[in-house]
Symmetry: C2
Amino acid sequence: MNRKFYNAHHAPVGAFATLTLGQKGSTGGLGLELAGPANENLYVGIQDRDGGSFRALPFFTGGESHEEDFDVEHLSGFGRPNAVTAFADEEIERTMGAGVDEWRAGDMVFRLISPVRSVPDPETATVEALKTAITPAILAELTIDNREGTTSRKVFFGYQGSDRAAGMRVIKEPGLTGIAQHTFTAIASDDPAVHAGIAFQPEKVLEPDTEENLEFLVGRLGLLVGTVPAGQIHTFRFAIAFFREGTATTGIKTRYLYRRFFNDIESVLRDALKGFEATKHEAEAFDAQLQSRLSPERAWMAAHAIRSYFGSTQLLEREDGQPLWVVNEGEYRMMNTFDLTIDQAFFELVLNPWTVRNVLDLYVERYAYEDGARFPGSDEVHPAGIAFTHDMGVGNAFSRPGYSGYEQARLKGCFSYMSVEELMNWVLTAGLYDSHTRDMAWAISQRETFLASLRSLVNRDNPTPADRNGVVGLDADRCQGGAEITTYDSLDASLGQARNNLYLAVKGWASYLLLEDVLRRLDEVEAANEAKEQAAKAAQTIMSAANEEGLLPAVIGEGVEARIIPAIEALVYPFALGLEIDPELQATLSKHLSAVLKPGICKFADGGWKLSSTSRNSWLSKIYLCQFVAERVLGFAADAEADVAHVNWLLDEENAYFAWSDQMLQGKAVGSRYYPRGVTSILWAATGENPLAELAKAFGHTEQPVA
Amino acid sequence: MNRKFYNAHHAPVGAFATLTLGQKGSTGGLGLELAGPANENLYVGIQDRDGGSFRALPFFTGGESHEEDFDVEHLSGFGRPNAVTAFADEEIERTMGAGVDEWRAGDMVFRLISPVRSVPDPETATVEALKTAITPAILAELTIDNREGTTSRKVFFGYQGSDRAAGMRVIKEPGLTGIAQHTFTAIASDDPAVHAGIAFQPEKVLEPDTEENLEFLVGRLGLLVGTVPAGQIHTFRFAIAFFREGTATTGIKTRYLYRRFFNDIESVLRDALKGFEATKHEAEAFDAQLQSRLSPERAWMAAHAIRSYFGSTQLLEREDGQPLWVVNEGEYRMMNTFDLTIDQAFFELVLNPWTVRNVLDLYVERYAYEDGARFPGSDEVHPAGIAFTHDMGVGNAFSRPGYSGYEQARLKGCFSYMSVEELMNWVLTAGLYDSHTRDMAWAISQRETFLASLRSLVNRDNPTPADRNGVVGLDADRCQGGAEITTYDSLDASLGQARNNLYLAVKGWASYLLLEDVLRRLDEVEAANEAKEQAAKAAQTIMSAANEEGLLPAVIGEGVEARIIPAIEALVYPFALGLEIDPELQATLSKHLSAVLKPGICKFADGGWKLSSTSRNSWLSKIYLCQFVAERVLGFAADAEADVAHVNWLLDEENAYFAWSDQMLQGKAVGSRYYPRGVTSILWAATGENPLAELAKAFGHTEQPVA
């Protein structure tokens, strides 16, 4: 935990925007809808006590003046000697929660404050509550302690906007001084002691030749500068805002929902500054909760993950005014990828359950499809039924109805269809939502979807009722002869193939349990009984697959002897709902986990968890989830050594550029970087029998469940 | 002229948008509001006769699949072997005019057609005429001659959008098949034989496994594919469109004026395709005119320059509906830089005089300022009067009223104020507009500006009437003790310093002549007489500065003995207006030019013109202008050797990336790259006594002069 130079998101809610910061060099910056960090110079610093030079956090490389593009023969002598240098590494301390990220260096304290808050349901919230929750800005405090100083000293904060379509500008309005790149990004203060400037180099704004020279729009660096008299300590407040006009997404035409309230970035800045104290207290309260409930390693990982999640969120409004919630898939920017929706549902149910419902509804409206199924090697198509797509599109482009941006026919590996697992994902996410909110009106509205999902799941087991074993036995006809994969799409066959997969067998079992539960409440007795029966068959099939040592094969009955941790993953769903778990199945999975959770099988040399014994690729979001299941469902002790290993993966010098990342190949982030899914870690913070209700209470979800 | 791999703009009018293309590799692409080429892969090609492989123009580097970001252990075997290779250099022929750029290779012809047309005055034009003129799209024809083929063959055209905020998508509407990046850029066809796809690699769209796989939105390449049966020749038509919603500029809030007519990029594509034939014929007619009037070298340079100019144009609409015309300054993106406005005025007056008036009006409204003047080394401020800023802002950010984005106080070189030259620029540009259009109502409306300009020019000569010599003797007070520079800001003192500069002395003389002309027509007799007197003094001062060999010093009376070609530049203004030029002054300047236009003085070793004997930096736009003056005003023979040298500068391998560039340091483009100013070359095409009227007739400006 002693490394401090790693990028983290500092993001508002629902703006698909982030100030990513923390690694050294120009590796962070203000990003809008990006697949990775903005890679721009960012300057935060103070004047030395002796007044002669300036020290900054090391978030710049400089050297981007472009002066020589104008003064090609260097005749003007326009440039100034560098007076801004970085603090030495050892002078800098950093403390990061989910809300507040704080750096201390010399006489300076710099705090970035990200809103950590629920988004109220736009269809029922007051204008003021909704506006406050989704104001597309974060906040900063920059303190200089000049009590020992003998002269007035300056503080500064600025950036070199990297959007290629626009220059930098100054904002100068009554009560607001700022720098901006077009209408896209801005930093501003309401402090009257702050001045703003644009220049090639910070020195020109820190010590302008003359006030008239400050708006040198040819420059690419915007800087805000404040002055504090000798003997004083002063904190400057800033808002950092993001703004996107016009069409936000194609396919489904939307705009950002915050456009209801804001017509320009200046009004965003003003509102963010107005709500400064409330946002700060909310963020600090969230951090306090997290820290009181978790070990330092876990608190840090959860905070890091929550940041990356918020940076990927996008609250849109359709042309008819309906809200549309999107979580973008990190570096891939796939929209509402269902594999992520289900894992993030725990966190979203804690904060704002309506977003989960919103995504489920859009899956039913546009991203469900009817399909048949085939046995491997056969051309015969059997009836199957409803399934759901893997995602809703990529990079602000919604895909066509019934199709994801990802799935391709005629494949057996990565990019193949995930029909049956996405079907389970709908069922399980809907079950979580239904159980947590008791939103019975919604459950009733989805009666046909629940029934169709059960029918489709059963059909994909086996077309012949007598031959059903509760486990998926056919591939979607959409594959056109290819093979369905699981959402562990980049792992090897141990988690890749859907048919007879152990992980999916348990997930199917859980789906049947949750279907039984909701269908019984919907008074669909026959269907509920069928779901119960299928669950029992699945449990039986799984238990029968154990070998004499209690080990379960990754693929049942196909000779794939790899060992996988995610066999236990789906236990989380009945546990979260308080449903009874078959004690024999639980014992079987517990025994399996005990047997595999060892070096050489499902542990790396550093003690980190290895999801599959045969793949070097392990996913942190899933590890977090399985840790929760192991500890809370199966009663395993917390694995502190693993937590340390996982922290070290994230802090690895190369990985640290991508903020929180998921896919780790022997500890190296190779895919799913800059990723939102790590919020499964919120479950760690639950200690009681009803984790979602407990977490909602602790982390400030104040919405009442819908009657 | 045998090099063919150079970037050129292919741009609509007023959209600040361009398909830049022609250099090898991923150095071109669809750019919106950029300071340089978009650097994206672009694929244009055909299937080989044997059907096994595909050949494309060499505008791609490939290798951008990002497949490995998903399938991190390369388990899927998803990729296809490369089947698309580039034509060999020697197979490719290219012919470029201002409107049509044509490549021939094998059985393929690819033509990019850029609109070359007048923009009618938005305040008087019909909706239809205005809409047609500013539709933000260009066109393409892709022909495959499969008459010798024995199987059906495919053609393809596509790009890998480089905007970092969005993914690629497919457009599939009745009568329109396309690929797009968000709402920003798109290519589409109305040909029913075309299909569209998104993929990692072109092979997947050229030969899809199955039609359902074509919308793989995870891919970054969009491709359109058409098929032509054996024995046929077929031409596919495409539109390439650009679209920017929302606030276009800050400072002065505007949107693109085309937003009046278009709500999405799809409607732009449809309209562009609808007007295909008309746009094509217009472009071909323009090219024919250019080629009939100029040597191949000059026709090519003029065509190249016109393209770069159009790619920098931006027609906006203010919140009150008023049109606002901007030409962005190439790689610098300064807006309506006055130094460029005056040079581009010849071209704009030929095509659409209202744009010149529009810029002049905004200079008066917002970018004029009142100032004093000082003698060098003195703090005493003398009255001066009106001046104008260097530009109106940078990169879509209008600067604050009365200030440019460029000028800085307390300097003596690059980035200093250009007050007096920008004042002359207003006078001369206004004089050109007034004379060409005989828009007397406008001249009357600007009576006070003309009078104030005369007053200010005279004051900047000398505060004491008896000491006036017609030449600038003071520096603007805005310099705060620094020195004013000329708009030749990156050259050495020969053209850098404003005071007593020879180039500015002649430009001042011309300003007085034009002021006399317009003031006399405004019946301001006294002022007209004063202007005449100042012109005579200036002429006298200039003539007296000649040494015994007839050489004029670059700076008069200050011992700067450098020799400069632009001494003659300002002769163009009285010549264009048909005003009488003092024969003695003309003889003096002619003699000076004869004396300097020699190797070792104002010629480079390759025969190219060297603007200053003491600077290696020479500017093509100004060379073109001075060539016109030398030939048409002073009667020098055309310098064909110089033209060849100038062509070779532009075709230099490094320079060719930037399309047309201005500042050449011994033939290397070091500044003012990707630049609009080369349209001074349009003057080459005039042969008679009234160049602007003649060119307007030849190049299709059909607007009637305002009564």
